[in-house]
């Protein structure tokens, strides 16, 4: 592991975090407060605090471990870590950046698949109608994730309480919304 290093320090994730987010990871002094307040720390293969430490070392193999970790996909973006950090390191933003890099480099942990399927189904609904169509979202997610029987008991209860409109709301500016998608997410696909 120690044998392979970056040719220039600008290649490391820490350097990119600094460049894109303006966050200086060397400010972290490993107090552990971010992980102590994290509601899902116990489920993560590496806690936020450990993840920051690995990034600080700026080694290719350690950066890879961060990108491939399952824990980054369990982060709820609740921002408790960023709020409590005594050094004002924006931990949640770093998590966001690491996730987008994992997707871009196609090294995201396999267990991220369901979570990404959900987000993609959500965005496809907006791209088409301009607003979220909840029944369409759940149906699309079930197809993508193959969790067909998930929550089948809940839907009728929601419908009976008037919480599941059957038809989508179509906004007039659908073409505008489609263009927004083409000019942002579209470039990545």
């Amino acid at each position: 592991m120690a044998g392979v290093t970056y040719a220039t320090t600008t290649e490391s994730l820490a350097a990119q975090v600094r460049q894109h987010l303006g966050v200086n990871l060397s400010h972290c002094y490993q107090c552990g407060k971010c992980a102590a307040g994290c509601p899902v720390a116990e489920d993560m293969d590496m806690t936020s605090c450990r993840l920051l430490r690995l990034l600080q070392l700026q080694q290719p193999a350690l950066d890879q471990r961060v990108l491939a970790s399952e824990g980054i996909w369990l982060c709820l973006t609740c921002e408790t870590c960023s709020t409590r950090c005594p050094q004002e390191v924006e931990v949640a933003k770093v998590m966001d950046f690491v996730r987008s890099e994992a997707i871009a480099r196609d090294v995201a942990h396999p267990r991220s698949r369901d979570i990404l399927s959900f987000h993609r189904a959500f965005l496809d609904s907006i791209r088409t109608t301009g607003r979220l169509y909840e029944i369409g979202l759940v149906a699309d997610y079930k197809v993508r994730s193959r969790h067909v029987l998930k929550d089948v008991a809940l839907a009728p209860k929601m419908y009976l309480r008037g919480k599941l409109p059957l038809l989508p709301h179509l906004i007039k500016g659908r073409d505008e919304v489609k263009r927004i998608f083409q000019r942002t997410l579209g470039r990545r696909r």
């Binding site: 509601p39 369990l74 709820l76 997707i103 369901d114 979570i115 907006i126 607003r131 979220l132 309480r161």
Partner: protein, 284 residues
Amino acid sequence: MRIGYYPGCSLLGSSREFDESVRALAGALGLELVQVPDWNCCGASSAHVLDHKLSLALPARILAQAEAAGLEEILAPCAACYNRLASARDALDKDPVLAREMEKVIGRPATHKVRVVNILEVLDRFKDTLPGLLKVPFAHKVACYYGCLLVRPAKVLHFDRAEDPQSMDRLAAAAGAAPLDWNYKTECCGAAFSVTRTDLVARLSGKIVADAVRAGAEAILVACPMCQSNLDMRRTESNAYLGADHQIPVLFITQALGLALGIDANRLGLQRHMVPATFAPAAV
């Protein structure tokens, strides 16, 4: 008084009782809600996770629609919409280069000067008139639950205190309730993992419900559709996690205030909850 209104997608579907109770309450308080014309979804957590620019562009179109309609301020009752809109506005306001780029993406100019406010901020403006309008005090012990999106990140939202916020507690007290001191005011409920990681939501929401019950609350009050649905619709799962049978109802603050102003329970959408919004007759 007149204010722009951005209901957001949840308020048209799974959390329509939030929309119903905001409208009913606004009517009783003399607040005119002017809907943002032809509004789109804010992108919620999904745009945020998948594409940073998209997570700014969708709110940018909403802000531009509001601006074109001559609105200076918009109320977003959904805490997630409020957070996304306020975060985008803050980012565009601070970075003129990014703001010009977003104008190109949405295809029209915008100044991004429209202010975004949450329901607690707006109701706080009525704190002096509320007591005079009280008809049936909401005389219950309540746990005011804020969750994440109303108070974090504090540097962007500048609303209330990030730890132990008080704004909802003050409103609850104005409605005749007894807000309790408890531990899970700003803990995360599991948010958008409701469908994908229901196991995590059961645990996180279960802990919140359990602490509210431990503190002696008769109801949990919220101001976020995701919090409400995770604490209410996922009660079967969270009770299974806890090995308990907690039946404490979860009301939107607007429903509790509406009841206190004598508004009919059905107009406030109380019949739509999974955990019945009924209370023991015990007075505070």
